[in-house]
Symmetry: C2
Subunit: 134 residues, 2 copies
């Protein structure tokens, strides 16, 4: 996979890929770092993930706390596309996955977007006040 991208095969890269491969969900850098051997240099990991992103080996998505989360190719957007909306409570700041509600397949189309934009998936965040804060 590294060779395919024209990158050298190095221990850090292999380890990072392995962590992402085993991950059940997209991870941010600190979480990745925690799963890597203790002596691993944080700077290298940041650079490694930037490289992976540039080479499109991983998907980089925004986390709820507005950090970047990384996920390996075949478990990227498709598997984690969050077909369900999220709910952000503007009082307590908590975020919930609304598993039950599904974003209609027709939704993106209904926006009548310019064809120049290639949408991979829609993210819906409902703002409001959660049951606990009302």
């Amino acid at each position: 996979m590294l060779k395919q991208a024209g990158l050298r095969v190095t221990p850090v890269r292999l380890a990072a890929l392995e962590v992402l491969r085993k991950a059940a969900a997209p991870l941010d850098v600190p979480k990745i770092l925690a799963k890597l051997p203790p002596a691993t240099d944080a700077v290298t990991v940041y650079r490694t993930l930037n490289t992976f992103t540039r080479k499109k080996m991983v998907h980089r998505v925004r986390g709820e706390d507005r950090s970047w989360l990384y996920a390996i190719g075949d478990m990227g957007p498709e598997r984690h596309e969050h077909r369900h909306p999220h709910f952000v409570c503007d009082t307590c700041g908590k975020v919930e996955c609304l598993q039950d509600a599904e974003i209609p397949r027709t939704f993106v189309r209904s926006l009548k977007l310019d064809d120049a934009y290639a949408v991979t998936y829609p993210e819906v965040v409902l703002h409001g006040v959660c049951p606990r804060c009302r």
Copy 2:
């Protein structure tokens, strides 16, 4: 307004409220700080805004990057509800407002959400690749 919330009336608080009152859009702390008298202590402003948030005098919404934006009560979510979707390019990371596309009024209802959640506005972020990165 401060007294109503059971807070003391102090110069920093008055100035911060004034800045938010005059703001056309939600601001993050650095931006607020820039509009305050030069000698204003950043720590105090952070604390002030946390206090305002706790007392529900301001709305705190998430910014595009990992930051909080603050807006005063009556120009909070309603006036800045971003009735239009946003587009995030997962290649270059840039965020755009898709002014032309409007989120259907019926959208939130169509999700058939639990009544316990009081939705003030829906935020839609389309992920994909922007025209420039294709």
